[in-house]
């Protein structure tokens, strides 16, 4: 690694690393799948927060983007969620206090052949996931640039005090295709 200012070599990379932000697991699909589940998360209760970083493409033959639906511990009720989206034409907001999941909107690029290499991206923070005195809160930044473009912020909550032990990520429109990557990280805290 090198860094150049005005074309002149300026400084060398710094080394580093730490144990406050750790990669826990990664799944890279070698065949299509309708969902991906991280289970056994109770083993990571020494972390305060989780972060999921995903690069995803859906099998539906469209020019748009679709969501990833998140559920915890197999529970498909008792979620709230809100969305703020800009699509190049308008900024819009939507939400519901009674949902079957938390959405990460516009996270997944769809599969029109003219956009073969296009994947969407998302970064999802799951705060205090093992705390049994709080509802589990989620925030996400996601986007995808197909023919349709979108940048989206999401928030959500699982209205349950249980510690999160599993997270299911469900494709919104057609299966996740081969090559999609899902990485989950743990962040230390008090």
């Amino acid at each position: 690694m090198s860094l150049m200012l005005l074309g002149i070599l300026n400084s060398q990379a710094a080394g580093g690393g730490g144990s406050a932000y750790d990669l826990l697991e990664t799944t890279t699909l070698t065949s299509s799948a309708s969902s991906v589940t991280f289970s056994g998360l109770g083993a990571y209760s020494d972390y305060a927060h989780l972060q999921i970083r995903a690069v995803t493409k859906g099998a539906a033959n469209n020019f748009g983007n679709s969501q990833i639906g998140i559920t915890f511990n197999g529970d498909t009720s008792g979620y709230s969620r809100h969305t703020l989206q800009g699509d190049g034409s308008s900024v819009s907001s939507s939400g519901t206090a009674n949902s079957n999941r938390v959405d990460v909107s516009d996270a997944t690029a769809e599969s029109n052949s003219s956009y073969a290499g296009v994947f969407g991206a998302s970064i999802v923070d799951i705060l205090d996931f093992s705390n049994t005195s709080k509802y589990t809160t989620v925030r996400a930044l996601s986007g995808s640039i197909m023919q349709n473009k979108a940048i989206t912020m999401n928030s959500g909550a699982w209205l349950d005090l249980a510690a999160v032990t599993s997270i299911n990520l469900e494709a919104g429109n057609g299966d996740f295709v081969s090559g999609c990557r899902f990485s989950i990280f743990g962040l230390k805290g008090n």
């Binding site: 690694m1 860094l3 900024v91 296009v118 986007g143």
Partner: protein
């Protein structure tokens, strides 16, 4: 087994103004890159990211969303490199850009970024470089002005 990660790959703080900053020979062993900048210029124009020196037309596209305290706005662009904005000539603007699967050779490169200039607006961008090549260099360039002294540029690698 947890794998420690989130490593600082390169860092600079400008002690003299510079028209551009380039990170080159980027380590290919990570999953994602996170570029954190706190910078200002002498105008309020756009800054650009370009990968592998590519600023050619037709391979870049992006969409943005803005809130300035009274209104919201969105717009999309084609044929322009990944953009963010330095919105104040006295206050530093903070930008965090996530470049996911940067070393993959089967994917276009999607960038999610947020830019904050506290006394003007907050912005979010999604951008795409329409090329499946692994990213080996990142150039930051500002329209019509140098980056000013005190501007910081930090590049991190996140394991996959």
């Amino acid at each position: 087994m947890a794998t420690p990660t989130y490593d600082l790959l390169a860092s600079t703080t400008l002690t003299t103004s510079a028209s551009s900053v380039t990170f080159s020979s980027i380590d290919q062993s990570y999953g994602d890159l996170i570029l954190v900048t706190c910078a200002k210029a002498l105008n309020t124009d756009d800054s650009w990211l370009a990968f592998n020196g590519d600023q050619s037309a037709g391979v870049w596209s992006r969409v943005r969303m803005i809130g300035d305290g009274s209104t919201t706005a969105t717009a999309s662009f084609s044929a322009q490199p990944v953009g963010y904005v330095l919105r104040d000539t006295t206050e530093f603007s903070v930008n965090i850009a996530h470049i996911n699967d940067y070393s993959a050779t089967d994917k276009h490169k999607t960038v999610l970024s947020r830019t904050n200039t506290a006394n003007t607006d907050v912005r979010a961008y999604a951008s795409r470089w329409g090329n499946t090549a692994a990213i080996t260099s990142i150039k930051l360039d500002h329209d019509g002005s140098d980056y000013q002294v005190g501007s910081t540029f930090n590049l991190y690698g996140v394991a996959k």
